[in-house]
């Protein structure tokens, strides 16, 4: 049995220890906010928070994250998270929206760690998240807007 702590709930699950966290979240627990985009941690759509840090859940076997504090897009509500969400709405960041859970999770983790990220920091934190609609310019502006709103 695998013991997981997800969104402040504990779960004891009879799943293969090799099963990626992404699929436990989506198929076992029904949390479909985190998306599948590539399966090789190349696109970032599967980003969740592990003890507050962004990880690619598609490449994370659940056995490696037992007992750790995992948060998904469905529950994020820190000051950074709210600032990011409001900035995303204000600047109309989304187009198709499929990458946006992952984008926000990466952005929230960035803002949590760095209150005033410059372009280099944004590039470093966000270049693992692909957006095929290419709404990158707005993501960048929204991160800066969110940082400003928190300062």
């Amino acid at each position: 049995m695998i013991q997981l702590r997800i969104n402040n709930q504990t779960h004891s699950l009879d799943v293969d220890p090799q099963m990626p966290l992404l699929w436990v979240l989506r198929d076992v627990l029904g949390l479909t906010g985190t998306k599948f985009g590539c399966g090789l941690s190349l696109c970032g759509a599967c980003t969740v928070h592990l003890d507050g840090k962004p990880i690619r859940s598609c490449a994370t076997p659940v056995s490696t994250v037992q007992g750790k504090h995992i948060e998904t897009i469905e529950v994020v509500n820190s000051a950074s998270a709210k600032a990011i969400q409001q900035a995303w709405l204000k600047l109309e960041v989304v187009q198709c929206g499929f990458c946006q859970s992952g984008q926000q999770m990466s952005a929230i983790a960035l803002l949590t760690e760095n209150k005033n990220p410059d372009d280099f920091a944004i590039n470093a934190a966000m270049s693992g998240n692909i957006c095929r609609c290419n709404t990158y310019a707005r993501i960048r502006s929204a991160i800066k807007e969110a940082a400003k709103s928190l300062s």
Partner: protein
């Protein structure tokens, strides 16, 4: 037709998508009770399904003491559920004047959108048209995707076919949706006039309120809607003067933003249904390969796997979750018969294309005498252009949910061609088309891919479901990224040979452009090809705007078993590059400024000129830039929209390059939502920019060498330029913005690079300068 009356975006943003609500009930009270019952029970079933795999924990917020209705409400909140008091207050449908508008007792106006929302903003744009003529408040507008029914929801440019593409959604809907809104307004006003015993022309409507100033009477839509439903639908209605627009032209908030930011939006990948099985697929390693034998015995031992099914096109493993299905795929032993499979490499194809280009092809355009003019030209220039296959690589790997039962076939999909898919599925299953119900969800990107003319991935999901053969068991086929990347339906590979000549003043007097590439439209049969010309192969070249007196464009359409398809901006993806870099090269040949050179050739094209001049002005064209930085310009009209880009490009010491900034000017007629337009210009540019830096599908002995994002390299945050968009004011009818920015960036960047390096670039991607 589903009449779910959820508060917010009504294409499934909750898990309650299993229930179809009958609209034929005799009275409002029965309907209200039926709505309450069905929403509760539907959600309850779904909750039960996904909880079955895990143990409850005492800490869980799901209290087992509550009945399933309460659990359903807690665990899977309907969007906006917080705003609605209790289930017993579910809104009642009051007024449905046409196929596009419903007004309910909660005073919400639901606009039925016939086009697919794939990020391009069509839900917002089309809803705006209705809200404007209805004089509704934007806050009371909701949207719902239309059912598959071409008799009501056809694309008016496509005859009896419902579907989205060619950047036509706004253009074909502009009058239709405004009329729909105006019709509803007319009937609301007529009802109020009767009720208040006042003349119709004394009633004003503003932000969802009807008022009669003289008597002080007023009403919301909801309070007059039931009476309006008794009014005769008018044959003719007046539409507003654009001067009076309150919503059209404003950057209104998108209808889908909140759902997508708060992860409430349901994509096909997210669909939950009772008893659903997920299918992973083993697809042929080469086009034309067939399954010779399958040993699924090991696959069946994977926990969660329900079945291994063979179908025409591959083998699927069905399981109660995707990962187990994938483990099953990895344990399949498949022998493929590749005796008739495609075995060529890209270099083979290119060599064949070069050979074809030695000889004249079918004529797409012929003005004057090109050969004579070339001979008499003061200077001539020749160039061979090479363009690779391109994958659409939507963020959401293709997928589709299918359920077959005695009633027919029901599909959940980010569906781009409802009528085509309906007919293809009906034919496969021996059904009538209207027995194929399509729930059109959000698409996680399309860029043309989902509008596959052969309904490829939809049919594959149906075939798998049919092969599994269990009545009423829904199957969700999920393609892996590898499946998706290597399934074909690429933007074709192309080869262009251009020979151009200028006179002593440097003005182009001759232009011969020969294009070689697979025909996209031949998949429909030879009927779409007139005189050997597939218009999608030559658009952008055969109709180039430049005044060149001797102009010939001809075409070879070789046949290959590589499946090809339209890809965001289609023919323009290659013609804009070759035409715009060649024009720049001619300007450079005679030391003329590229912007001024184009101006001199566009005297009869005021809309081309306007975007060119706007982009030049806003980019500071001609002003000094730092060393190792240069500007490049490109101009292209596609789908009736005019776009110019000025790209600022820097050369690094190691000869890598970056695009620092792009200034975009666009003329798309009347701008319905300027922010959506800007977003499409920005995003379309980024989409095209990836093809400059890195994106390509190459074949090695019939196998695509790219399978995921490590080798099919697309644009990332650190490569995105700063971008500014300027919209030409216009009162012309609106034209599309989904595609027109994409083809313009590549030549703009190449032209900037040429200024920096002195070399010309004829191949995409440009990996080395």
């Amino acid at each position: 037709m589903s009449t779910q009356l959820q508060d917010s975006l009504s294409i499934p943003t909750s898990t309650d998508i299993s229930t179809d609500i009958d609209t034929e009930l005799p009275d409002n009270i029965s309907r209200r009770r039926f709505l309450i019952t069905s929403i509760a029970s539907g959600a309850g079933l779904t909750l039960g399904m996904y909880l079955s795999g895990c143990e409850r924990n005492p800490d869980s917020t799901l209290d087992s003491k509550n009945d399933s209705t309460q659990e359903a409400t807690k665990a899977t909140p309907l969007p906006g559920a917080a705003e609605e008091s209790a289930l017993s207050d579910k809104p009642v449908l009051l007024f449905e004047p046409n196929a596009f508008i419903r007004i309910d007792s909660a005073n919400k106006v639901t606009v039925i959108i016939k086009h697919l929302e794939m990020g391009q903003g069509t839900y917002t744009g089309l809803a705006t048209l209705v809200a404007e003529e209805l004089d509704a408040a934007w806050e009371q507008i909701r949207v719902e995707s239309a059912p598959a029914d071409a008799s009501k929801y056809n694309n008016l440019f496509w005859g009896p076919r419902q579907g989205t593409g060619g950047s036509t959604a706004m253009a074909n809907s502009f009058t239709q949706m405004r009329k729909a809104g105006a019709t509803a307004r007319y009937m609301l006003v007529a009802a109020a006039a009767k009720k208040w015993q006042v003349p119709v022309d004394q009633i004003t409507v503003d932000s969802g309120m009807l008022e009669h100033a003289a008597s002080g009477k007023s009403t919301t839509f909801a309070d007059i809607a039931a009476l309006a439903a008794n009014e005769v639908v008018p044959e003719e209605v007046f539409l507003k003067d654009p001067e009076d627009y309150k919503l059209i032209g404003k950057p209104l908030q998108r209808m889908d933003s909140r759902d997508k930011v708060f992860a409430k939006a349901i994509f096909t990948q997210d669909v939950k249904l009772p008893g659903l099985l997920t299918a992973a697929v083993a697809r042929p390693p080469r086009f034309g390969a067939l399954v010779k034998s399958v040993d699924g015995s090991q696959a069946k031992t994977v926990k969660g796997v329900a079945a291994v099914v063979s179908f025409d096109g591959g083998v699927a493993v069905l399981a109660d979750n995707y990962w187990s299905a994938l483990q099953g795929i990895n344990k399949l032993k498949i022998e493929w018969d590749e005796s008739k499979a495609f075995m060529l490499s890209s270099s083979d194809i290119l060599a064949d294309y070069r050979k074809l280009a030695e000889n004249p092809g079918a004529i797409a355009r012929q003005d004057g005498d090109v050969e004579k003019a070339l001979k008499g030209a003061k200077q001539t220039l020749s160039a061979d252009f090479e363009f690779p296959y391109l994958a659409h690589a939507t963020m959401e790997p293709l997928n589709c949910v299918v359920r077959i039962n005695s009633q027919g076939c029901e599909i959940w999909n980010g569906d781009q061609s409802q009528t085509a898919d309906q007919h293809a599925v009906a034919k496969l299953l021996g059904l009538q088309p209207m027995q194929v119900k399509i729930n059109t969800l959000y698409a996680g990107g399309s860029f043309g891919r989902r509008g596959n003319p052969l309904s490829d991935y939809v049919l594959e999901a149906v075939k798998i479901t049919k092969a599994y053969g269990k009545d009423n068991v829904p199957v969700k086929m999920i393609w892996s990224r590898e499946n998706d990347m290597q399934a074909g339906y690429y933007r074709p590979m192309y080869f262009h040979r251009i020979r151009a000549g200028v006179d002593k003043k440097g003005k182009p007097v001759a232009w011969s452009q020969r294009i070689v590439g697979q025909s996209i439209l031949s998949v429909f049969g030879e009927g779409m090809i007139k005189d050997g010309i597939d218009p999608t192969s030559v658009e952008g070249a055969s109709n180039m705007p430049y005044a060149i007196p001797n102009l010939r464009v001809d075409l070879h359409s070789p046949k290959l078993p590589v499946p090809v398809q339209w890809w965001r901006s289609v023919g323009s993806t290659h013609t804009a590059f070759s035409v715009e870099t060649m024009i720049d090269a001619l300007a450079a040949l005679t030391q003329q400024d590229p912007v001024q050179y184009r101006r001199s050739l566009l005297e009869k094209e005021p809309r081309h000129l306007a975007v060119l001049n706007l982009a030049a002005e806003k980019s500071g064209w001609g002003t000094v830039l730092p060393a190792n930085r240069a500007r490049g310009v490109a101009l292209h009209k596609s789908f009736n929209t005019y776009v110019a880009h000025v790209a600022e490009v820097s050369l690094n010491d190691d000869n890598s390059y970056r695009v620092d900034k792009v200034v975009i000017a666009v003329d798309c007629g009347l701008p319905v939502n300027p922010d959506v337009i800007k977003a499409q210009m920005e995003g379309g540019m980024g989409f095209g920019l990836a093809t400059v830096f890195s994106s390509e599908i190459t074949f090695n002995k019939g196998v695509a060498e790219q399978s995921n994002f490590h080798d099919y390299v697309v644009l990332r945050m650190n490569q995105m330029p700063e971008v500014e968009v300027f919209i030409v004011p216009s009162t012309e009818s609106p034209t599309g913005v989904g595609e027109p920015s994409t083809p313009v960036i590549a030549p703009a960047v190449a032209n900037a690079l040429s200024t920096l390096t002195g070399k010309r670039y004829f191949h995409l991607p440009i990996k080395h300068v």
